[in-house]
Symmetry: C2
Subunit: 360 residues, 2 copies
């Protein structure tokens, strides 16, 4: 087996943090990996310099991860197709609205046995509702499914309690890889990401791993509302728990056969906790309640140009559930969407939870 070539598609905050890990592991295992890791960089001019050149010359992403050294075997490439040419492992770490366009450009340009791993948290809602599988699911499509559908390659996912700045700081944490061909692909993927401070568990239940990563943002919105409303720890814990229960029910409904154990992995409860205490969805939703401003305004004020995924995911989830007549069974998810959309007052959140199916 010749050493695998790895490409990181994306170079934002999370992409750059993960490049520090992948750059180091590929150097440590020269039998398994080609030491050069290409990173696709969307070219930008930062302080009069090309971002790709700064990365290649000074080994720092001065825009998205300033102050942290990138390993010198991580090479910025601005042409997408060139960055992926001959690559065996594609690491997807871009905002989810760019996935489709990127994949379409790569059709026919990558080896047939390439595999991908998605680090993208979010879901896709297929409004055209094409294809049997998404029709059954009211339009739900996972990012991994979107990649697979276009590129016809195997796609795994990596999710977990991984706020990017802390990962970039080498703080101890865990992550979960969901990998349908666990026996075949699991060991290589674990080698690619597992370090002393970034501890990987591999599970087979990839859909659950990915859905946990998307739905936790919806739960974090609810947690942010309770913070904004001034509730204490008990109420917040109840909201987080009910959100987790809706997540398990949602997974079980749309992807039957999930393993309950997967929710105990880092992608499950750990990521949920981190997101509900430290994440930006929580922060934005707290401010939304406290200031009375619109969601767009608080995002603009607090997120420095980035957007919160939670309200978008809540809307997609709501539309899908509504289509399949399930919204009543998911009162928390439903309330988050309605509050974000201005159709319900935040103060009504707790009333929606009092007669939760979980309490019947």
């Amino acid at each position: 087996m010749s050493p695998k070539k790895v490409t990181i598609i994306g170079s934002g905050n999370w992409g750059s943090a993960i490049a520090r890990i992948v750059g180091s592991t590929t150097k440590s295992f020269p039998d398994e990996f080609d030491p050069t890791v290409r990173m696709w960089v969307f070219e930008e001019i930062v302080n009069g310099e090309k971002l790709s050149e700064v990365i290649n010359n000074r080994h720092e992403n001065i825009k998205y991860l300033p102050g942290k050294v990138l390993p010198n075997n991580v090479v910025a490439v601005t042409d997408l197709v060139e960055s992926c040419e001959g690559s065996n492992v594609l690491v997807f770490v871009v905002p989810h609205q760019f996935v489709k366009g990127i994949c379409e450009k790569l059709v026919g340009k990558i080896p047939a046995d390439t595999q991908a791993i998605s680090l993208i948290k979010g879901i896709s809602f297929d409004k055209t509702n094409q294809g049997v599988s998404t029709e059954k699911r009211g339009g739900l499509k996972l990012i991994s499914e979107e990649i697979k559908e276009i590129l016809k390659i195997e796609v795994s996912v990596l999710m977990g309690a991984n706020l990017a700045p802390e990962v970039a700081n080498d703080n101890f944490c865990e992550a979960t890889i969901g990998c349908k061909r666990k026996a075949e692909d699991g060991p290589l993927l674990k080698k690619l990401f597992h370090t002393d401070n970034f501890r990987i568990n591999v599970v087979e239940d990839a859909h659950t791993v990915e859905l946990c990563g998307a739905l936790k943002n919806v739960v974090a919105c609810a947690a942010g509302f309770t913070d904004g409303l001034g509730y204490g720890d008990n109420t917040k814990a109840a909201v987080i728990r009910l959100g987790l229960m809706e997540t398990t029910k949602f997974v079980e409904h749309y992807y039957p056969g999930s393993n309950l154990q997967t929710f105990f992995e880092s992608c499950g409860i750990a990521d949920l906790i981190t997101t509900c205490y430290g994440g930006r969805n929580r922060k934005v939703c707290e401010a939304f309640v406290k200031t009375g401003k619109s969601m767009a305004e608080v995002e603009k004020e607090l997120l420095n140009g980035q957007s919160a995924q939670g309200p978008l995911t809540a809307e997609e989830v709501y539309l899908m559930m509504h289509k399949t007549g399930l919204d009543a069974k998911f009162p928390l998810f439903t309330a988050v969407h309605k509050i974000c959309a201005g159709e319900m007052k935040p103060a009504e959140l707790v009333d929606c939870l009092r007669n939760h199916p979980e309490h019947m």
Copy 2:
């Protein structure tokens, strides 16, 4: 069926908060419950007045729950035996070191078909190691087992994400009742505690419910250490998750046949989250690391005369695991004890987790 008489054994902060709930539910269901709820009060003189008289005349526990009205059907009784005479439901809510003495005084003084429910979080370590069951468990005895052994009555438990001041404030929260005879006793117990803001689920897996309530304090110590060491959200989430995994393994080892679903109840993840973010064990352990003072000193400074249960439970758990040769399988529990006992530096905590059995 004649209405059941209920006695609350204990009148501290949590006992008084629960008396507000039980006083109200017993009034709402006169067919099921005798409206007079007796509350055993350990007599104290507070500002020159007898606590029991203040409770009975002004309906306020001015020492342990000042500012909150107790329902007027809650009657303070200072004689333990008198408070329980003819009672059908005993609600135990005292510090766990008093349980044995209280139960011994009640032997032969209560109806044979009385049932108990314990709200006490902690475990008992039977150092004399008498009796087959605790010998098998290296001395582990649950509070419910201790009550049952002495009084020969059925004992259920109530645990959950229930910081007492917030419950007293009528903030929305959830709790779990663990009840071995669920079909028989569950409906009555749910009626006794379930309100608009205190939502009860009943499960059969009572041992798991009770052990979650005890072991979360050990996990909260670890969470406090990470806070004291300045780690961020990722590390704290990993520590909480690994603590939960050790809790599930511990329960499975000592009380085989637990239901994984129970850990998703309020007694499980919700209480764990609340305790690891808002509880006093976390607070004390954070200060222990930051100040370098002894555990006894920080407890004295921060807890106003109360003690933190976590270090005590960690010691009991450690002794038990050590006896049965299991400490290596529980690196987090073991580290918490050793750090509390001064046998290990807090900074070594994360090193103990790097090769956690969960990552193998």
